[in-house]
Every structure is written in structure tokens, then in C-alpha cells.
């Protein structure tokens, strides 16, 4: 199983990748998780490769072989698109963070509809998650975006990890104190995906 995570530095991509890795170990797999980013602490593009299965050697996913692409930001979903396989699953958090350089250079920021149209060329399994709306509606802390998206990814039925292990990994990483809030966020993310279904333009 190959899962590619993309987003912007500071969004917590790495935490999400570690959660998936921890859950995969709990499910008995061999795991590789790799973070790819440039210098400095935040603001640049960040990609994490998560791979698990029986015999895993490479920490990187080969282009065109990712079973799932999870992006916490619209533009970054497109930058990572080349990794997705035909009929792979795409989950996009509908947040838009235009890079300052795009504004300086006058390059148009692609809309969520542009992104959906692009992905439609290779897959029907496109899901757009408005995590901000879920957070507001359920009065969840802003830091639960990762858990919401994780719930959505699980709800596709194609994540290849058990709900039990995901929850266990979450509790281990975030602590008992945040258990109920994270389970709530996970379930709301799952519910949102089941209710909205695949994205259309």
C-alpha cells in the first residue's frame, strides 16, 4: 500500500504520516515513512511517503504508483498528482494557501474545480473535504484537521488499515486527554466523506 501525503510546512503532514505508520505497525506490516522537504522550518511544500506491506524496501513511492493521495491543501494536491496511479483515491482538504511567490510572479492560483478536473483524467475517486466547515460546525479545535482527514481517508474503505489501530495510534500520540475530541474528529471526517461522496465539477 502506497499513500502520498502533501501540504505546506507547518500543517502537520508529518504527524499524519506517523499516525499511519504507527497504525500499520500495529496491523503487523513492514513500514516505511519518508518526509521530503527543503530547508527552513515552515512555509514550503512538504510531501510524506507512507508505504506498508509484506516486504518494503524503498522509503519513496514511485511516480504513478500511489494508491492514495491525501493533500491538506489544494495547490499541493496538484503538485503531487504525478504520484497517483490510475483509479487511485484522492482526498483534498479544500483549504487554499496561495504561495507569496505566485502572487509576486503573477501566477494564477488554481481553484478546487481546476484540481478536480485534472484528477478526473485518471480517477473517479476524488473526495473534497471541507475540514474548516467540519471544525466550525462541531466546535472542534483547529489542530484536529489531521484527524478529520484521517477519518475521511479511512471511510473510503481503501486505506488498508484497521479503525482500531488508527484510533490506538492516535491515542498513543495525542494522549488520553485528547482521546474523545480526536475520536469525534475522526468520526466527523468519516461521516462527511460518506455523506458528500465523490466530488463533481
Amino acid at each position: 500500500m502506497n499513500i502520498l501525503l502533501s501540504g505546506v510546512g507547518g500543517q502537520g503532514i508529518l504527524t499524519l504520516a506517523e499516525l499511519l505508520g504507527d497504525a500499520a505497525i500495529l496491523d503487523g506490516y513492514e513500514v516505511r515513512v519518508s518526509e521530503v522537504h527543503g530547508m527552513a522550518q515552515r512555509g514550503g511544500q512538504v510531501v510524506c511517503h507512507v508505504r506498508f506491506g509484506k516486504n518494503v524496501y524503498s522509503p519513496l513511492i514511485i511516480e504513478g504508483a500511489s494508491d492514495m493521495l491525501i493533500s491538506l491543501e489544494v495547490l499541493e494536491s496538484l503538485r503531487a498528482a504525478r504520484y497517483l496511479k490510475h483509479e487511485g483515491v484522492v482526498i483534498i482538504n479544500s483549504l487554499e494557501l496561495p504561495p507569496p511567490l505566485a502572487i509576486i510572479k503573477g501566477i494564477k492560483y488554481p481553484s478546487i474545480n481546476d484540481a478536480i478536473k485534472e484528477f478526473m483524467k485518471i480517477t473517479k475517486k476524488i473526495y473534497v473535504i471541507n475540514s474548516m466547515e467540519i471544525i466550525k460546525r462541531n466546535r472542534l479545535p483547529a489542530a484536529t484537521i489531521n484527524t478529520i482527514i484521517l477519518g475521511s481517508a479511512w471511510a473510503t474503505g481503501e486505506l488498508g488499515l484497521s479503525r482500531d489501530s488508527l484510533i490506538k495510534a492516535m491515542i498513543r500520540r495525542f494522549g488520553e486527554k485528547w482521546k474523545d475530541i480526536n475520536i469525534k474528529a475522526f468520526e466527523e471526517g468519516a461521516k462527511y466523506l460518506s455523506e458528500t461522496g465523490v466530488a463533481k465539477v
Binding site: 510546512g9 507547518g10 506517523e18 505508520g21 504507527d22 505497525i25 513492514e30 513500514v31 516505511r32 515513512v33 519518508s34 518526509e35 521530503v36 522537504h37 527543503g38 530547508m39 527552513a40 522550518q41 515552515r42 512555509g43 514550503g44 511544500q45 518494503v56 524496501y57 524503498s58 522509503p59 519513496l60 513511492i61 514511485i62 511516480e63 504513478g64 504508483a65 495547490l75 499541493e76 496538484l78 503538485r79 498528482a81 504525478r82 504520484y83 497517483l84 496511479k85 490510475h86 494557501l97 496561495p98 504561495p99 507569496p100 511567490l101 505566485a102 502572487i103 509576486i104 510572479k105 501566477i107 494564477k108 488554481p110 481546476d114 484540481a115 485534472e118 483524467k121 485518471i122 483547529a142
Partner: protein, 615 residues
């Protein structure tokens, strides 16, 4: 974390864990991506396991501290990035002569593709140059195992041992089986043996002869190393090491060629085990060497074939690129071509929309942004022609638009030496920038030079109180060390004064006007030929400010856009490129969760549309 548990562990953490399980007593390093987590993790474990850990002022000092611990019969480790080994190399080149007592392991974390480095040098080449044994793991589990093995090796042959890792291994996580941590409460002891530890010519000549013998014995030993292995028995072979081995195994699986090719995985890279290689090469029609960066193994394999009259065709850098990090795709293509297989591209996915780049940027409220902006403003106001040598740190991002405040950037500390030269030969005003930790690391000798050989340039020391880029490790200005102990602060201004420099002023870059006028004074000072002028721009890292505000330790202001006044001209974004400024509904909004209230956006807004809000 004791016993036989399997956990998800970062490559660097696995190296640290291996050292701990091997009974390391002392660890030292200097922060540098991708190596920093090794020392960070050991520092976290220091108290519990009674080990001594330090962030040294530079890599050379780190190696010296760790080597001294080894001289005191303690197992020790030094960790650094690839270019850090250059700094430490002066000591290391001779430490192989003296040899060691307690096991001494140096971790070199190389950075193919320069993800966060100025070059992509291949430190395996230090092996034959220094006569230092080198091993390279391919997975986090092996990173732990090889680190442990290296301590044994170092003690067995009384020689420093280098473990080479790369960004991809250091920063990837995998299953690691934990072993027991030995309970050693050991004090160092030192037995004098001046002839073995003083490299005076009379001793060094003898030591070199001994060293050559040691390397020969280690080569023999490596022929049977458990970390080298041969899979399969075919007339077609591949030799691979490190991550290249991981990608090779995936490529062979993708090509369904696992049965057709035999693979030699090499982990002992210097000295390369000749007998093992010869036995692998014997009878092979053709062999491909898959390795990242230099043709290190390939050249040696070709030499062995020549020496032993083996007529296998050896391929390598004709199919695997010399520059850049390897990826599974690059290795797959190389191996497919070697085997004469055609690859069908799986993803013919071409995007129609343009995807604008998102390079890393200085954080919202970063004091470096304000300092760079002030420098450029002062230069504009003085109407002088200025050039900007800079150094290694977050502030390297000042190179990019819209700041464009860097003309030259080489390596740690180089800004000041380059400024000494430029001030004499360029005919321009020279304004160098360097961070506090980089200044302490390698800047001081060059600043002394500026007085010794009078040079007229401006040096701006960007003092944010720590090593920011690599993850907020303490520097000598912080007042805390790696183990969290309170220590005396070394102030840059005291060092500057000790260099007999008369112009030394301290500014807070959040007070922009004062910063601009101080830099203007500094320009006047050098125009008059009065010697170097130093401006210390002091303000805590923006991430520290945010954290302290979140923890309730300090109060920070926020900036907010007055919707009535903002006309959406985007001048703020275009002039300063702060990531807290976001275009929204034809205007600009400020992301208050990352704003530190630095006020630079307000300073540049032509419509005075930015307000200051106290929180």
C-alpha cells in the same frame, strides 16, 4: 522502551538508539540537516542513561571532545552533516593515526540533491583519503545494527569508524526492533601514552605504517561482514549499497527480474572487501553498480577486474546519474536499460493548469525579513552600490524574491572572509550577514582578520538566540546547553569588541526606522575607511515568540488589515513576501495564528491599512 518491542523509528533515531544499546557514554555534534536528530535524541536520553551529550561550537570541536572521551576509554560518538565533516576533517585525518581506545564512531549524514545543503559531496571518498573505515546502512533497522557493529569494530581495530547515512535514510521511518540498553555507569580513565597520541613527525611516520596495516586487516575482516550479502546466482549481477540497494530490490520486483539477477548488497564501503567482490564478479557476464553520487564502488570494481583479469562488463554511471539523489524511478529506468527491458510508463498524467512553485519562505514575523528589508532600505537611502555576502542559516532564504538580499553564499562562516576580500577588491560597499551560531562556529577568525588586515565592510550579525533552521538547538548565545543545563552566555558584542572593532551597535529589527538609521551610520563608517562596522540585529526567532506567547510567557501584538482602507494592491505581499499575508476577496487578510506583530507589512502599505492589535 526496553526489550523486544518493534517501533516506528526515524533513521537518525535508530542510529542514536544503536549507540545507546552499544553503551555510548559521550556524544557531541553540531546541528545540521539531515543529522541533527541524532544528538537531539541522545540529549533527551542523557539524564536517564547517564550519558554526556553536547552541542559543540562546531564539528571540529565535537570530534575532538568525542575523541578525547575515547582516549579516556569511553565509547563515544560524533554526528554531523556531510559538510560538517569538512570542518572536522583536520582532526579526523590525524585521529586515524592516533587511533582510539573506547569505540569512536562518526556519523556523516550526506545530502544528495542538496535538500538543505550547499553541495552534495559524497563522503565515502573520505574513506581512502583519511584511511577511515566506512559503513552504510539501507534501512532504519540496519542503521541501528550497523551503529552497534561500528563501535565493536572501532574497539577491535583501535580506529575511528564512520557511518555514512543520507537524507533519505536519516529522515525516513521504519520498523525497528529494540534491544536492551546496557547499564554501564562508567567513569573515564586516562593512561598516558604520548608516543601514541602525539603526531609529531617522528611518531606520525610510524603511525602511518601501522594505519596501513590496520586497514589491510579490516579489509580481510569485511570479507565476512554480516552486513554484506549475496542473493541469487545468475550470470548477471548488480552491486548496490545504502538506499540504492532498497531501490534496486523494488526495481527488480517491478521488472519481475528477481530470479534473473544476483545482487550483492554492500554495507562495508571502505575498505571494500576485495575477496568478496572478486568471488561475486567471477563468471559474471555483466555487472551494474547502483550507487548514489560518485562512482566510488564502480571505480574499485573496475580496478579489481583489471587486476584479477576478470572479464565481466562493468556498468554504472553510464546508466545511473552522477548528480542528484536517486529515486525508485531513476533506478528502475537504469536497471531496465541494463537488462534490456522496455518500461511502459504507468502514469501519462500531464497537468494542464500551471502549478506555481512554493519554495520555503522566511516565517511570518521572521526578524531576518525585517533586517534584510532595513539593509536594502538603508542602501537605497544612501544611494550606494552594495553587495551582499551571506552565510548558512534560515537567512539564506533572503536570496529569493522579494528580498533578494544575498549575492554570495558558500559555507559556514565564509561571509566574513569573503567580505574581507570584497571590501579590498570590489570597489563597492560590502554588507555581510551571518547568524549568531554560524558566527560562533566559523566566523570569529575571519573577523579578527578584518582588524589584523584592516578591512572596511559592514557585518550584520542576525542574533535570534539559537540555531533556528535545524530545529531550535541552543547556541552559545542561548544560555542553555544540549542537556538543558543553564550556562553562561557568550555575547557576540563582547567578541566583536575583543576583535578591537570600534563600531558595534545593537538593534531590534522590529524597530525598523532605528535599524535603518543604524545601518546607514555603519555605511558612513566604512565609507570613511574607519574599519569594519558591526551591527547586531537581535530579536528572538519568530517561532520562539509564537511559542512563548502560546505558553503565556510573553504578550505579542498582532497586525490586522483595515478592510475599509485596503484596496487589494498586494504591495505588502509583493514587497515583503510574508506568509501571514493572504489575498482574500480582493483584499488582504492576515493569518493571526502566525502573525507576530512585527509591523513590516504596515510599514510598506501605501494606504496605511494595517492596524496593530494588542492581544
Amino acid at each position: 522502551m526496553n526489550g523486544e518491542e518493534i517501533v516506528l523509528m526515524l533513521g537518525n533515531e535508530a542510529i542514536a538508539r544503536g549507540a545507546l544499546e552499544a553503551g555510548v557514554r559521550v556524544a557531541a555534534g553540531y546541528p545540521g540537516t539531515p543529522s541533527s536528530e541524532i544528538i537531539e535524541v541522545l540529549a533527551e536520553w542523557a539524564k536517564e542513561h547517564g550519558i554526556y551529550v553536547e552541542w559543540s561550537t562546531n564539528e571540529k570541536v565535537a570530534v575532538e571532545v568525542a575523541l578525547a572521551a575515547s582516549f579516556c576509554n569511553l565509547r563515544s560518538l560524533a554526528a554531523m552533516k556531510h559538510v560538517g565533516v569538512n570542518v572536522a576533517s583536520d582532526t579526523l585525518f590525524t585521529a586515524t593515526y592516533t587511533g582510539v581506545r573506547g569505540g569512536f564512531v562518526i556519523i556523516s549524514a550526506d545530502d544528495p540533491s542538496c535538500h538543505s545543503s550547499q553541495n552534495e559531496q559524497d563522503n565515502r571518498l573520505y574513506g581512502p583519503h583519511m584511511y577511515i573505515p566506512i559503513l552504510e546502512p539501507h534501512s532504519p533497522q540496519e542503521a541501528k545494527d550497523i551503529t552497534m557493529y561500528s563501535f565493536e569494530l572501532s574497539e577491535k581495530f583501535k580506529i575511528p569508524v564512520m557511518v555514512r547515512t543520507t537524507t533519505r535514510l536519516s529522515h525516513s521511518r521504519g520498523n525497528v526492533r529494540l534491544g536492551p540498553i546496557p547499564n554501564i555507569a562508567k567513569e573515564g580513565t586516562f593512561e598516558r601514552s604520548p608516543e601514541e597520541m602525539s603526531c609529531l613527525p617522528s611518531n606520525a611516520r610510524k603511525m602511518r605504517v601501522k594505519l596501513i596495516e590496520k586497514i589491510k586487516s579490516i579489509e580481510e575482516y569485511f570479507n565476512d561482514s554480516p552486513f554484506n550479502c549475496i542473493n541469487g546466482d545468475s550470470k548477471v549481477g548488480i552491486i548496490a549499497s545504502g538506499l540504492a540497494y532498497a531501490y534496486t530490490m523494488e526495481a527488480l520486483r517491478a521488472l519481475k527480474a528477481e530470479e534473473k539477477v544476483s545482487v550483492l548488497k554492500l554495507s562495508t564501503l571502505y575498505p571494500l572487501p576485495k575477496k568478496l567482490l572478486a568471488s561475486f564478479l567471477e563468471g559474471k557476464e555483466k555487472v551494474l553498480v547502483v550507487e548514489e553520487l560518485e562512482p566510488f564502488i564502480e571505480s574499485y570494481v573496475k580496478a579489481i577486474c583489471c587486476e584479477l583479469g576478470i572479464d565481466s562488463r562493468v556498468e554504472g554511471k553510464n546508466l545511473i546519474p552522477l548528480a542528484g539523489e536517486l529515486t525508485p524511478l531513476i533506478v528502475l529506468e537504469g536497471i531496465a536499460s541494463f537488462l534490456g527491458e522496455k518500461l511502459v510508463s504507468k502514469s501519462g498524467f500531464k497537468l494542464e493548469v500551471e502549478v506555481p512553485p512554493r519554495p520555503p519562505v522566511l516565517c511570518a514575523g521572521c526578524p531576518h525579513r525585517s533586517t534584510f528589508y532595513a539593509i536594502k532600505s538603508a542602501v537605497r537611502k544612501m544611494k550606494v552600490d552594495a553587495i551582499y555576502p551571506s552565510d548558512i542559516g534560515c537567512y539564506g532564504l533572503g536570496f529569493y524574491q522579494p528580498l533578494e538580499a544575498i549575492d554570495i553564499s558558500l559555507c559556514m562562516g565564509a561571509s566574513i572572509g569573503i567580505a574581507c576580500g570584497l571590501s579590498k577588491f570590489s570597489g563597492k560597499i560590502v554588507i555581510a550577514t551571518i547568524g549568531d551560531s554560524t558566527f560562533m562556529h566559523a566566523g570569529i577568525p575571519a573577523l579578527i582578520n578584518a582588524t589584523f588586515n584592516p578591512s572596511n565592510f559592514i557585518l550584520v550579525i542576525l542574533d535570534n538566540g539559537l540555531v533556528a533552521m535545524t530545529g531550535h538547538q541552543p547556541s552559545p548565545v542561548t544560555g542553555v546547553n544540549a542537556m538543558g543545563e543553564k550556562v553562561k552566555v557568550v555575547l557576540p558584542e563582547d567578541l566583536v569588541k575583543a576583535c578591537s572593532i570600534s563600531f558595534c551597535k545593537i538593534v531590534d529589527p522590529y524597530y525598523l526606522e532605528a535599524t535603518i538609521s543604524t545601518i546607514m551610520e555603519a555605511i558612513e563608517h566604512v565609507q570613511k575607511g574607519l574599519g569594519p562596522a558591526v551591527v547586531i540585529s537581535r530579536r528572538k526567532c519568530a517561532l520562539t515568540l509564537l511559542r512563548e506567547a502560546r505558553d503565556g510567557k510573553i504578550k505579542i501584538a498582532k497586525n490586522r488589515v483595515d478592510e475599509e482602507k485596503c484596496v487589494g494592491c498586494l504591495a505588502c505581499i509583493k514587497l515583503i513576501g510574508c506568509p501571514a499575508l493572504l489575498p482574500f476577496n480582493g483584499k488582504v487578510i492576515i493569518d493571526e495564528s502566525i502573525c507576530t506583530g512585527c509591523g513590516l507589512c504596515g510599514h510598506v502599505c501605501p494606504f496605511k491599512a494595517v492596524m496593530r492589535v494588542e492581544t
